[in-house]
């Protein structure tokens, strides 16, 4: 094990069991969770304890050593985050009004949706770019650590039950068409139009350790870094900084901020509420 130390809180009786479990995951699955935010990680571990029907974290640790399926479900449970199309509509309104006019001045555009999970925000971005006439000159790189969610994102098939919420979000985001025109409904699923996927590139990328792979006009990483501790957040922000063109945009989640990182002064705040930043130095 390298020098990364798990920051466990002083009064958690389960901290030694969690430490052992994370060591097992690191040694046997090669996934390093020691720089994740401890408290939210612990909650996710406890959800797995419950779902796997074992009595304790220490039982789960013993079980993952003999059962690769349990291991896989645990890693997925600790990494996958749930998102929605046009989540935080005000963010997309801001994109339309403040960012799109600037993007129009570029002949070619590259975007990175980092930690894209099942792809809801990738499709939202593609729809917005298409409505603004920019999609033809864009490439959206969508990455996640987990191959299973990437596969789902690539297929573009989402539960039909979610469409009501997404339609509301889309309308609040000042969408220009009928949201239903972007998918065909098939019993329980909404199958999104394949042309939306034309300029999407899906790839496995681990924010914990993998390097920069291109230079982007915009990077979107919303509600992903909240699961990391400050040290790891700083490392990922270094990666984003290195991967953004000067005057490129960085979009974070509504309750995230660049303020506590060493890169704060390298960005101008486009909008304080929606956490949209622009690289200026």
């Amino acid at each position: 094990l390298n020098a990364v130390k798990l920051e466990s809180p002083p009064n958690d009786p389960e901290a030694p069991d969690i430490r052992l479990l994370l060591e097992t995951l690191y040694n046997e699955a090669g996934v390093d969770f020691r720089s994740y935010a401890y408290s939210s990680l612990k909650r996710r571990i406890l959800v797995r304890v419950q779902r796997e029907n074992v009595g304790s974290i220490s039982d789960l640790q013993k079980l993952v050593q003999r059962n690769p399926d349990v291991m896989e479900r645990l890693v997925a449970g600790l990494t996958i985050h749930v998102t929605a199309m046009f989540r935080d509509p005000a963010f997309y309104r801001l994109m339309r009004h403040e960012v799109v006019p600037v993007l129009r001045t570029y002949p070619f555009l590259r975007f990175w949706v980092a930690g894209c999970s099942t792809g809801e925000e990738v499709y939202s971005l593609a729809i917005l770019l298409q409505e603004e006439g920019l999609y033809q000159r864009s490439r959206i790189y969508a990455t996640d650590l987990n191959e299973t969610v990437l596969g789902k994102a690539r297929r573009g098939i989402f539960p039909l039950a979610a469409m009501q919420e997404y339609t509301r979000n889309y309308q609040k985001a000042e969408g220009l068409r009928s949201f239903a025109s972007y998918y065909t409904a098939d019993n329980d699923f909404a199958i999104f139009r394949p042309e939306l996927r034309e300029n999407m590139i899906f790839a496995a990328h681990n924010l914990v350790g993998d390097a920069s792979f291109n230079e982007f006009h915009g990077i979107f990483c919303r509600n992903v870094l909240i699961y990391f501790n400050r040290t790891l957040q700083e490392r990922v922000h270094r990666l984003f900084y290195d991967s953004l063109l000067t005057f490129g945009y960085l979009g974070l989640g509504r309750s995230e901020t660049i303020r506590f990182t060493p890169h704060a002064s390298s960005y101008a705040e486009i909008n304080a509420q929606e956490k949209l930043y622009r690289k200026i130095a």
Partner: protein, 177 residues
């Protein structure tokens, strides 16, 4: 640390508690109020009125500060870490996000017996498990302004004491949920 949880209906009770605290009050305070996911900043403005301490909606990894009331943002869980707060968009707990249990349980892990839990009115069981967890670290206290919620927190935390806060009888306090 003092952790406080309640429904939106306990705003007035929360305000009454906070209004009595001096600017120099040197324990950090963290609050979860159940509220709609689209609720806006008006809550902060209302809470800050007549209060000496600084009221702030938490952003991820914000340092835990003394003389400050840290409020969970809508649609995120608020968790206590060593030295700072973190947020999560994980599924609701007891139908709530932010959830009182999530805040209380993480506060227990970090602050142990130094954590004090206050449950104001509650519409459901959210907060009971968290209060029990704080009780388990010894010397934790759970108070409630709502008898039903107090009973739930009390019975599930086994042996914890509950007593109505004196602000419960305050003429400006309302305890409907």
């Amino acid at each position: 640390m003092i952790v406080i949880g309640g429904s939106l209906g306990s705003m007035a009770a929360l305000h009454t508690i906070l209004r009595d605290l001096p600017k120099s009050f040197s324990r950090p305070i963290a609050v979860v109020l159940h509220r709609h996911k689209d609720s806006d900043d008006a809550l902060m403005t209302i809470l800050q009125r007549d209060i000496a301490l600084t009221v702030r909606e938490v952003v991820d990894k914000e340092p835990i500060q003394l003389c400050c009331v840290h409020i969970a943002p809508s649609d995120y869980h608020l968790l206590v870490e060593t030295m700072c707060f973190s947020l999560s968009t994980d599924e609701p707990v007891q139908f709530a996000r932010p959830s009182i249990d999530v805040l209380f349980e993480s506060a227990a892990d970090v602050y142990g017996s130094e954590a004090i839990a206050i449950i104001l009115t509650g519409a459901n069981r959210d907060g009971a498990a968290g209060a029990r967890e704080i009780r388990r670290r010894e010397r934790g206290h759970a108070e409630s302004g709502d008898p039903g919620c107090a009973r739930r927190a009390d019975s599930s935390s086994r042996g914890d004491w509950t007593s109505p806060h004196r602000s419960c009888s305050h003429p400006h306090s309302t305890f409907q949920t």
